[in-house]
Amino acid sequence: MTQTHPELSERRILATELLWSVGVAVLVIAIIAMVLVTALTMGVNPPSNVERIDPKTLHLSGEFAEQNLGTMVGSDGSVTARVIATQFMFVPRCIQVPEGRKVTLRMTSPDVIHGILVTGTNVNTMVIPGYVAQVHTVFMRTGDLLMPCHEYCGLGHSEMYAVVQVVPQNEFKPDSNGRPVCAKR
């Protein structure tokens, strides 16, 4: 068979490949555009805070000293929860936050690398000694959300978890120091 079919010509193959490339390029651009639009309009971004802290002294003074841990409402109404992730527990083990309000989670570790996620939300970050992990989020539903360590940190890793207690705005009642306490369930 010596005759070449026009369908098999290089021109035809090139046209098909070009068509496919354009189609895939349109899809990739559309997906990137969608991710960018949601990032800019809805604030959905990967946590990217870079902040150093001395892991040897963080328990002695400063924002991660024991008296500053847990949720705190600032004078401007901002809600910040500070947690230390250490082998093999979170301190404190329960933090109360309000529903539908911007919350800042700040965490660090004095020993090894840990990681956290809050179930049912997009909160997910590594907690690395020497750095402060910071996540801004808004909790959209109430309830006790499990916050396990998701980075293997040693033999007690599977026992390392905390609870994020999300309560309705009218039940979020910090004391005079701006410190809410987890309700007993």
Partner: protein, 66 residues
């Protein structure tokens, strides 16, 4: 190593007329690339659809993060 007789027979089979005409081949070759395109396009469309459903109905409702 195949002996000479087997090799010759195989070549003869390969070259034997199979009743397929040039027009038959042309007709099939017009359809086959279309089928490959539909299969590949359908597969990519399914993957993108799956990503879209998870992104819009699972990821975004879980709230803002940053």
């Amino acid at each position: 190593m195949p002996d000479r007789e087997t090799t010759t027979k195989a070549s003869a089979d390969f070259e034997a007329p199979d009743g397929i005409t040039e027009s038959d081949l042309g007709r099939v070759m017009r359809i086959v690339p279309l089928g490959a395109g539909v299969l590949a396009g359908g597969t990519v469309a399914l993957i993108v659809l799956g990503w879209l459903i998870i992104y819009l109905f699972v990821f975004l409702p879980r709230g803002t993060v940053g």
